[in-house]
């Protein structure tokens, strides 16, 4: 198991509460309380310090903790600077993975690559800043490199789009009923023209 969410240590002049915030505040409070009760008189009286090693505790939550500790005869020392490591919100994943069939009238637009595990039906649209990969039949419209990246590709297990776009170039299949491709294919820009070839040549 990883490090505990709440650790309480006895020190010379009271206790230290070391917090790693991995759940809601109620749970944290209850955990602290439980530990204090288990410790019995050992923790009673004196001063308490709070060390937040992960996440952040708000002013209001701080006050709640203070009240709770006071009932236990503990004085929360606030002169101790709050030690907060705030984790940056993770950046948007580069690749959106979608396990779903995109039906007529449904559209996905994403500022990265898009992987679809399912089909894209006629009337469905996928628009991506990067590449588009379809693990299924691509029968609708796909636009890769929608913000201008001409190196983007569109690949599909069965590539039968109503229309393909890569960066600013638009292509559509020849008129008439074309045969269903028997291998996965990839479309990319070559000299300003969208070319399609079997995927295994990649």
């Amino acid at each position: 198991m990883s490090q505990k969410m709440v650790v309480i240590k006895g020190t010379r002049d009271g206790i230290s509460i070391i917090l790693r915030r991995r759940s809601d505040f109620e749970t944290i409070k209850n955990t602290i309380l439980e530990k204090l009760q288990k410790g019995g008189d050992f923790f009673k009286g004196g001063e308490a310090r709070l060390l937040v090693k992960e996440g952040h505790i708000s002013q209001e939550e701080m006050e709640q903790l203070e009240t709770m500790l006071k009932e236990y005869g503990l004085n929360l020392k606030k002169d101790h600077p709050l030690y907060t490591i705030s984790f940056p919100t993770p950046p948007l994943p580069e690749t959106l993975i979608l396990k779903k069939t995109l039906r007529s009238g449904q559209r996905i637009s994403y500022g990265g690559n898009v992987v679809i595990i399912g089909d894209v039906n006629p009337g469905g649209e996928v628009i991506a800043k990067g590449d588009i990969l379809v693990f299924g039949a691509l029968r609708g419209m796909a636009h890769a490199g929608a913000e201008g990246d001409a190196n983007s590709i569109v690949a599909a297990y069965r590539l039968q789009p109503t229309q393909l776009r890569i960066a600013g170039v638009i292509a559509r299949p020849p008129e008439g009923k074309s045969a269903v491709p028997q291998v996965p294919e990839v479309a990319r820009l070559k000299d300003g023209v969208i070319e399609i070839e079997p995927y295994y040549l990649l």
């Binding site: 069939t101 039906r103 007529s104 009238g105 449904q106 089909d119 039906n121 006629p122 009337g123 039949a137």
Partner: protein, 268 residues
């Protein structure tokens, strides 16, 4: 408690009303179920005509939700099956006369008393569609083997999934085996490939549908109708029975028969 099933399609004229009338009648005929059919196509009602009940309408769906009459007063009993009822649509109002909330209430009330509540949905995906699906537990999608109808069915399935319907089922109507055989019509596999939902039945093109519609007696009760047979199968499948898809093989032509007589196998 019964279940509410909405019959919908997106595209107009593919056979929703025909399907509603035939399944409703089928359930009453074959299984003696207590069934009510709601015509949710306000302003364009015609389920009453298909059922031959037009001249018995006094009150309608809008009268019920607006409190003009009690629900019981608006229900019309079928001519032949005493367990079968119709709640007709209003002809002189439009789709906005009813709200999804009101439809939900109405369906909730009806399924307390009936085994099946079948809702005949209007074409389109606007207000009328939203009303029709509001109180439904399940959905049946009707399509014909045409690209545009399948496209609309796909759109509607997407909307139903978004609305929380788990497994809509499909009826393919007006299949013409001769055309499929010649490659001039989408076949069942092509359609299932795209829509990827459960197939509840395949109904052949059948002129008896037109005759029975004009007569106001759904084909499901007509022993000699192929479409009627297909609807009887659909009815049984709805009741959980395992009925194989009926063979839609084209009868051999005279020429093919003669060839067969002479031992020259007719080409498949």
């Amino acid at each position: 408690m019964g279940q509410v099933i909405v019959i919908t399609s997106g595209k107009g004229g593919v056979g929703k009303t025909t399907t509603t009338a035939n399944i409703g009648t089928g359930l009453a005929l074959l299984k003696h179920r207590k069934v009510v059919m709601i015509d949710a196509d306000i302003g364009l009602r015609n389920l009453d005509v298909v059922m031959g009940l037009e001249n018995r309408i006094v009150y309608d769906l809008v009268d019920v939700v607006q409190g003009v009459c009690r629900l019981k007063q608006a229900l019309i009993r079928d001519k032949r099956f005493e367990n079968l009822y119709l709640l007709p649509a209003a002809q002189t109002k439009d789709k906005t006369a009813v709200s999804p909330e009101q439809m939900k209430n109405l369906c909730g009330q009806l399924k307390e008393e009936f085994d099946y509540v079948l809702v005949d949905c209007p074409a389109g995906i606007e207000q009328g569609f939203k009303n029709a699906i509001a109180g439904a537990d399940r959905a049946i999608i009707v399509t014909t083997p045409e690209v545009s109808a399948v496209r609309d069915a796909d759109r509607v399935i997407g909307l139903l999934e978004a609305a929380g319907f788990e497994e809509p089922q499909l009826i393919i109507n007006r299949i013409r085996p001769d055309m499929v055989k010649r490659g001039d019509m989408m076949d069942i596999d092509d359609i299932i490939d795209i829509l990827a939902i459960d197939l509840l039945g395949v109904i052949p093109e059948d002129e008896r549908i037109v005759i029975s519609t004009n007569r106001g007696e759904p084909a499901v009760a007509d022993e000699s109708s192929k479409a009627g047979q297909a609807y009887r199968n659909v009815t049984l499948r709805l009741e959980g029975e395992n009925v194989p898809l009926m063979s839609l093989d084209v009868e051999p032509t005279l020429m093919e028969r003669i060839k067969m007589l002479f031992g020259l196998r007719a080409k498949k």
